[in-house]
Amino acid sequence: MGSARDFPTLSALNTEIRAKALSYGLDPFDLAFEVVTFDQMNELAAFDGFPVRYPHWRFGMEYERLRKSYAYGLHIIYEMVINNDPCYAYLLEHNKLVDHKLVMAHVYAHSDFFKNNLWFSHTNRRMLDEMANHGTRMHRYVDRYGAEAVEQLIDTCLSIDDLIDPNAAFENLPIEFEHGDEDEEEAFRVSRFRAKDYMEDFVNPPGVLQAEREHQEKERREQRFPVQPMRDVLYFLLTHAPLKAWQADVLAMLREESYYFLPQRQTKIMNEGWAAYWHSKIMTESGLMSPSEVVDYADHNSGTLAISPGQLNPYKLGVELYRDIEERWNTGRFGPEWDSCTSREARRGWDKHVGLGRQKIFEVRRVYNDLGFIDTFLDREFALKSKFFVYKEKEGEAGESYYEIVSREFDQIKQTLLFQLTNGGRPIIFVEDANLHNRGELLLRHQYDGLELDKAYGQATLAAIQSLWTRPVHIATIYSGKSVLLSFDGKKHSESRFEG
């Protein structure tokens, strides 16, 4: 009893936990569990949970790192699940039965989240197959164009794979390539009126026509391309950079994967919180555990929810916020009446017995991502209860740097938290002009909001983009309050003041 290869037991357990999850109102995809060894688990983890990926050294690096840290006893991967229909989840062979129960309960909630959260709605639910297809295509390119060339291109693309537009995930931008210029005449249609030959000069004075044509030409020259700054830099390069068909395909594949993984980054707190909320409900309310397993469960559960200074645990923050929301909507602590109540006494004992808590958290898991979740629901009382603080990196006398608590003010906590969650804590970059100086140079703009770009990384990334664009590439940003243009022309990096 309890051995990992005891499939009948595991299978019965799965049926039982699934029934429990459904009875709570969860609506998961079907789940396929696989029992794997440590080595297989590490390998799968290196591949982000997928059994087959394209060949790349980065996976090998991650694998070695995981294997080493496992060998030194630094970590054990407990659960891994991939967003697919059916969902695939992995059980570690040598785990105890109680761990399997915990993982199953946890993973059913993830599966429910994948299926029902709005931000996942655009993801490919056949990603397992798609990833394998990417692998096959990539291997074909390796055979045809050589491992070096393909690897170099993948490195380049990975360097910019976060330059996508979170809002564009829902529009399916057509991937078409530009075909030459429009007909010149078509482009310059001036407002000529119909007139008899002898009236021509009178009805359509040449001077006016000429002026109009010049005006149009001027407008055209001044019009930027792209017309609107474009956040999906990958898409822009895909459709406008001089790429060969196979190169465009590689870029398109990596862009697709990037969009697929995007919601997982956008909903880390919500997704893990949701899973932690439900595994604790299912495990503790349903008589799943024998008395002897309770201690193991409690141990692992508290390990999952542990806090370490200087790091925010998404499991803990998520589950506590869901519970807080549930409590507030059960007792009616929302709406204008609650908001306008200033009596401390009244607020403390507030209970309108509305009982909407469960319904509310299901609604929350459907429509929010982390940014909205925190923005909407994290309030002063919750922050106080959770003992949040803001830390900042400071420099010591010996040049070493350390983290120091700088504030426990609610406003600052929330602002910092929201900033961390905005665009995954990465700078927001737009393509602004693809024909800078009328010489086909690419201008990117960093939307500056208080934090400067890491210059060394920025230049290296610029070089990656340049290798795709082939013409010089620039990024406009701000250093020490001044507009600065970082440029790379394929040979050397330069830096200049920039007005524009």
Partner: protein, 375 residues
């Protein structure tokens, strides 16, 4: 499934090796790597392998944490300051990662970098060692090697034939005749063995810097020869006016005062070689490091011992490390070796190699001089 991650891992290791290869010269001339040597692995700090992204400057970063503590409390170190840790300091914020290479991989890199030829073992006869493989079956043997499955099958057969097998109570009791045992065959395998004798002058004129150079150089010579031979034995001899055999630890750390008589070390080495490592079955290497400041009358005698010892050796290497005194022994030995029949193999490969090591940067060339002949 398994092959795919192995492919990626192998590629990653290639990239690491590429990075190490690029910096190999620096690693070779600095002794810090020696401190990082494990049993079979060396861990080497290299610049972090990373895919660049647009990201915020990590300096002065902010975040939200959770827990007790007052405003102003320090949570922990974020990054080490400049100047701490090897290699840091030239570039602010350049993070290092430790990678592990096996000594074999390191030797390969060294070999490729210096274009060292592979060594053809010179030993007239190979040393044959017996290697056992369990690949056959016998009717006799110790119980610990009993082949359970075969024994069971035979006992079952016997019991069925003799009618003592009862399907309702399937008890099989093997008797003596049923038993089978695993057995081995011994196959002699040729094995080229090498012995390396390291000799060092520990007289007063050899300072810490000189010893460090010797230490670094012997580390690399050792790494290479171990890569070339299946098994390698090392012996260490230190000398001032008297020579004695010591262990590795003492070899690198002992400091004596006094004069120098190189011949004492050579005579001891000759004794060791003659007694323990007959050249029919051993490839013997002898390396001697000194600042060359020998007691005048002794040099001639030392040369004679070398001459006497040379036929028993694959290679005799003399490395002269520059110190504040100007040693004469290098030129004495060079003059002596000139035209000496024992100093070269019949094919013209040098058997006696001398090298002058001016400073750390010369270590690399010196290794090349010693090992570049393929002897």
């Amino acid at each position: 499934m398994a092959s795919s991650i192995e492919h990626d891992s192998a590629r990653y290791r290639d990239i690491i090796k590429g990075r190490v290869r690029k910096e190999l010269k620096q690693y070779i001339s600095h002794s810090e790597m020696l401190g990082r040597k494990g049993k079979n692995l060396v861990s080497i700090p290299i610049p972090r392998i990373d895919i660049p992204h647009f990201r915020f400057d990590p300096g002065g970063s902010e975040g939200v944490g959770q827990g007790d503590g007052e405003v102003g409390d320090v949570l922990g170190r974020a990054r080490a300051g400049p100047g701490s840790g090897p290699g840091a300091g030239d570039q602010p914020g350049s993070h290092l990662m430790e990678v592990e290479l096996t000594l074999d991989e390191l030797a390969q890199l060294l070999g490729e970098f210096l274009e060292l030829p592979h060594i053809e073992p010179r030993g007239k006869d190979y040393l044959f060692s017996d290697k056992d493989r369990y690949n056959s079956i016998r009717r006799t043997g110790p119980e610990s090697l009993r082949h359970f499955k075969r024994t069971y099958k035979h006992a079952l057969k016997r019991q069925i034939i003799s009618g003592t097998y009862d399907p309702r109570n399937p008890r099989i009791v093997p008797i003596r005749e049923d038993k089978y045992y695993r057995s081995w065959t011994s196959r002699p395998e040729p094995q080229a063995n090498a012995a390396i004798l390291y000799m060092m002058d520990v007289s007063g004129s050899m300072g810490q810097e000189q010893k460090d150079i010797v230490r670094t150089e012997t580390f690399w010579i050792d790494t290479w020869l171990r890569h070339q031979y299946r098994s390698v034995v090392t012996r260490y001899i230190v000398h001032d006016v008297k020579a004695q055999e010591v262990d590795q630890e003492t070899f690198y750390h002992l400091t004596e005062n006094g004069g120098t008589a190189i011949s004492s070390a050579y005579m001891l080495a000759d004794q060791l070689v003659t007694r323990d490592y007959p050249s029919e079955s051993w490839n013997v290497y002898a390396f001697h490091f000194s600042d060359g400041d020998n007691w005048g009358a002794d040099s001639k005698r030392a040369c004679e011992v070398v001459q006497q010892m040379l036929p028993k050796l694959n290679l005799f290497g003399y490395g002269q490390v520059r110190s504040y005194t100007t040693g004469q022994f290098l030129s004495t030995l060079r003059d002596f070796a000139e035209g000496l029949p024992e100093a070269t193999y019949p094919d013209g490969t040098a058997r006696l190699v001398t090298s002058l090591i001016n400073d750390r940067d010369a270590i690399l060339d010196s290794i090349k001089e010693f090992l570049g002949k393929g002897a």
